[in-house]
Symmetry: C2
Subunit: 257 residues, 2 copies
DNA sequence: CGTAGCTTTGAGGCAGTTCAAATATGGTGG
DNA sequence: CCACCATATTTGAACTGCCTCAAAGCTACG
C-alpha cells in the first residue's frame, strides 16, 4: 500500500492534534517539531509502549493507533488512567518522576516515534512558543486527570462511563471532525471497566441500560452516540473548552539550519 | 510583629519549594522569579482564592498557609482534588482550559501573590531553564493526580487515606524536613472525606482503626505518624522519587535589568 | 458561657463485588 | 470455507464496603 500525499499530510496533522488548538504554528516551529522526532516504530496490538520500571527511550509520540495508560495493582487489578490517540505524547510521567507511574499498552496496532531528550533541551532554548504550548499540554492533561478523579470520587459508575464517552468523542473529533458521534472504539468491556473503576460485570449492565435508553449503540468495536446531549447531562460535565492563550510568546524566525 | 531577616529568607525558600528539587537556580533566575510575582494578598481561613467561573488574576503563588482544590457537585457533594502548600501555584488549570475545573479554598489563613500572564511570557522567552522547570512541575502534578486517580478506582478507602498521609508527609518535609512525621494538619474529617471520596462517618471509622493499630495519632489538627512504613505499605505506594533531569537547558546570565 | 461547628456512634439500605457458567465473536490453520 | 480455539460478552445469585439518616458528645471561640 503506497501512501498517497494526502495520507502523509493528514498523518502529519494527526501528530500535532494536541498542540495545534493552542494556536497557530510558524514554519520554523513546524520544521523544528518534525526534526525532533526519531524514526517510526511499530507496536502490535496488545504490545507495550512503555514499561513501568524500565525506560528505553524517554518519550514517545503516538503517530497511529490507540493506547492506554495503566497502573497495575499487586492483586492483579489494574486501573487505566488515560487513553492516548495519535498526537499524544506517551511517557510524560517519566520526565518528572524517577520511576514512571504508569505503563502504556497499545490497544490497536500502533506506530510511535521516539523523542530524544536533547530535542527537548533545544526546543526550550530555541522555541519558547512551542515550550509554552508543551507546558499548556501538560496542564491540560492534569486538568483532565483531575476531572476524572472528581468523577471517580463522587459520580455513579453510569455517569463516569458517560463522561468517558463524551471526552473520547471530543478527542476523536480533533482528529476527524466528521466522526464526532460515531467512531471505532478499540476497547473491550474489560478496558472500559478498568477505566471507570468498576467490574466488567457491572460495566456490561450499564451498557445494556444505555442501549435500552437509546443513548448509544455499541457493536463490534464501533461506538455510535445516539443522544449526545442526554449523555453529557448524565455525565454532569460541560463541553471541554480549550483556550487559545493570549500570553504565548510570539513566533521566532528559524534560528538553526 | 516585625519580620526577622531569617524569617524572610525562609519564606522566600518556601515559595520555591516546588521548583528547587528539579535543580539549582541561577542568580538571574532567582531575580526573575522574584520580579514576576505581584503584591501579597491575605486570604482568611475558609476564604476563596479562586472561583470556578470567575478569574480575577490568572495565577497565584501560595506563599503561606494551606489550600485545597475543590470541585463542587450540583447535589451538594464536593470532591477535593488536591492540597496546596506554600510554594504551590494555584489556578494552573485555568491556563489550559476556558473555565477552570476547580475552585480553591484556603483551609488556614493564607497569603498569596498573583502572577500576571505577561510575566509568564517573559519567563518562557528569557529563561528557558525556568520554563522547563515549570513544565516539569506541571508534569509532576499530573503524575500525582494520576496516582490519586488509580487509588480512587482500585484501592479501599483505608489505603487511600494512608496514601494521602504519606504524600502529605513528603510534601511537608520539602518545607520542613524535621516535620516529616509530625505536623499540623489544618483539615477537618469532612475535608479528609472529600479528599478520598468517602463519607465523613466512614473516615471517622478509618481513623479510629488507624489509631487503634498505632499507625497514627491525630488530635487537635496535629498529625503524628507513628509507623511510617506500615502506613506506606497499607497505601501500596512507593516513596515519591523526584528527578533532577539531565536535559534541562543551562542557566542564562541575567538579560534584562 | 452559649452556640456553631466538629467528632463520634448506631442501624438500615443500596451500589457495586465476586464467583460461576453459558453464550457469542473473531482469528487461525487446514 | 469450515472447524476450532481463545477471547469477549452476557446473565444469575449471594455478599460487602460504604452510604444515609439521626442523634449525642465534644471543642473552640466570641
Amino acid at each position: 500500500m503506497a501512501k498517497s500525499p494526502t495520507t502523509i499530510a493528514r498523518r502529519g496533522s494527526e501528530a500535532l492534534s494536541r498542540l495545534r488548538p493552542f494556536g497557530p504554528l510558524g514554519k520554523g516551529e513546524l520544521t523544528a517539531l518534525i526534526a525532533i522526532a526519531g524514526p517510526a516504530r511499530r507496536v502490535a496490538k496488545g504490545g507495550m509502549i512503555r514499561w513501568a520500571g524500565h525506560q528505553a527511550e524517554p518519550l514517545d509520540l503516538l503517530v497511529r493507533g490507540w493506547a492506554v495508560g495503566a497502573i497495575s495493582w499487586s492483586d492483579g487489578h489494574r486501573q487505566l488512567v488515560g487513553i492516548n490517540l495519535p498526537g499524544d505524547l506517551v511517557g510524560l510521567a517519566g520526565l518528572a518522576a524517577q520511576d514512571p507511574v504508569d505503563e502504556v499498552v497499545a490497544v490497536s496496532d500502533a506506530v510511535v516515534r521516539s523523542i530524544p531528550l536533547a530535542g527537548l533541551t533545544r526546543l526550550f532554548n530555541d522555541h519558547p512558543r512551542l515550550a509554552a504550548m508543551l507546558f499548556l499540554l501538560a496542564l491540560e492533561e492534569r486538568a483532565l486527570a483531575i476531572e476524572r478523579l472528581a468523577l471517580m470520587g463522587r459520580a455513579a459508575a453510569k455517569s463516569r462511563l458517560a463522561a468517558l464517552f463524551v471526552r473520547l468523542s471530543e478527542r476523536v473529533a480533533q482528529l476527524e471532525p466528521a466522526q464526532r458521534h460515531r467512531f471505532d472504539l478499540p476497547l473491550t468491556q474489560q478496558d472500559l471497566a478498568d477505566l471507570i473503576g468498576v467490574s466488567t460485570v457491572y460495566v456490561n449492565g450499564i451498557l445494556q441500560k444505555m442501549r435500552a435508553e437509546k443513548m448509544i449503540r455499541l457493536t463490534r468495536r464501533e461506538l455510535h452516540i445516539l443522544d449526545y446531549d442526554r449523555l453529557r447531562d448524565l455525565a454532569g460535565i460541560r463541553q471541554w473548552q480549550q483556550t487559545t492563550p493570549a500570553w504565548l510568546p510570539p513566533m521566532r524566525p528559524a534560528s538553526h539550519p
